[in-house]
């Protein structure tokens, strides 16, 4: 085999390996650890809820799919199904909170009544503003 052909084959092989490697990497990529990224918005739970209550469509356009760092008082802590924890953060509306889901089953750091700062990805507004894939930033931890 001539040297140029060998080189060409090696290049093709390398590209193939890189391609498969890249595809496998993307395929197995876990959800983002939000403690390692910068938030798009930093605000209080009251302000976030107020924004959605006042103008849901504008707030949806602004906040959905964005990483939001939110500070608020824990109103309730609930163990969800399949190793998730749900906490709700108090707002100025007693019937509507900021509802955060953590992919974890460790409730040690969540105490009703204490202040906490979490980062989560906003998925929109039902009765509460919903944040998912949350991580604790500071507070009771």
């Amino acid at each position: 085999m001539k040297t140029p052909v060998k080189i060409a084959l090696a290049v093709v092989l390398l590209i193939a390996i890189a391609g498969i490697g890249g595809a496998l990497y993307l395929y197995n990529l876990k959800p983002q650890d939000l403690n390692k990224v910068k938030p798009h918005f930093v605000m209080t739970s009251a302000d976030l809820q107020k924004a959605f209550e006042t103008d849901e469509s504008a707030s949806s356009a602004k906040y959905i799919n964005k990483i939001i760092e939110v500070t608020g008082e824990i109103a309730s802590v609930k163990q969800g199904e399949k190793n998730f924890i749900n906490i709700s953060l108090r707002t100025s509306n007693d019937l509507s909170s900021v509802n955060c889901t953590f992919p974890s089953s460790d409730t040690t750091f969540f105490k009703t009544g204490s202040l906490i700062t979490v980062r989560g990805i906003c998925s929109g507004f039902l009765m509460d503003v919903l944040l998912k894939n949350c991580a604790i930033v500071e507070g009771t931890k």
Binding site: L29, P31, I64, G80, T101, L126, M127
Partner: protein, 181 residues
């Protein structure tokens, strides 16, 4: 004084009416797809639901973007390619327990129920009838169900290339823990 009496009466009526309604904002709905090639599951712990035990009316609302996946790429495909969650953010169910008289809400226990109603996914509404259980517990009510749905019934288009990776029938699990409203 008359006014106070009226307010008291209204308040009592309101309390009596609200005692019939149960709510959760952290209900669970998950789906599971099994094929020899791949298992896929999505979990959502932020389902809002209200159950009226005087009429048997039951409603669910869920944000599609609230589903959590083990792998980021699955979540992206689910939202962008299949559910189009930017355009269609919500799914809902509105129905009724058809054998409500079988359930004694004053007595703790598990009761088999049938629920009929409209399931709306991806802007397509289908009438469904499913079996489930109502569990009356101290201080609340739990509701559980497992049923199957076919993605194509809701005009969710799955390309031929990946059709083998997604089950023909997706298993849906519903688990609610209601408290009094």
């Amino acid at each position: 004084m008359k006014r106070l009496t009226l307010i008291l009466i209204l308040f009592t009526v309101f309390l009596a009416a609200s005692a019939q309604k149960y709510i959760t904002k952290n209900g669970y709905i998950g789906f599971f797809s099994h094929t020899p090639m791949e298992d896929i599951k999505g979990d959502n712990n932020q389902v809002a639901s209200i159950l009226d035990i005087s009429t048997g009316d039951i409603v669910f609302q869920v944000l599609i973007k609230s589903f959590h996946f083990d792998r980021a790429l699955l979540e992206e495909h689910f939202n962008e390619n299949y559910m189009e969650s930017d355009k269609i953010p919500k799914s809902s169910f509105k129905g009724k327990i058809t054998n409500l008289s079988f359930v004694d809400f004053k007595k703790n226990g598990i009761y088999e129920v049938t629920v009929e109603g409209d399931l709306t996914i991806h802007n397509v509404t289908n009438k469904i009838s499913i079996k489930g259980t109502i569990e009356v517990v101290t201080g609340g009510i739990n509701a559980n169900s497992k049923f199957n749905i076919v993605p194509e019934d809701y005009k969710i288009n799955i390309p031929d290339l990946v059709r083998g990776k997604i089950a023909q029938n997706l298993e849906v699990t519903v688990s609610m823990k209601y408290s009094s409203m």
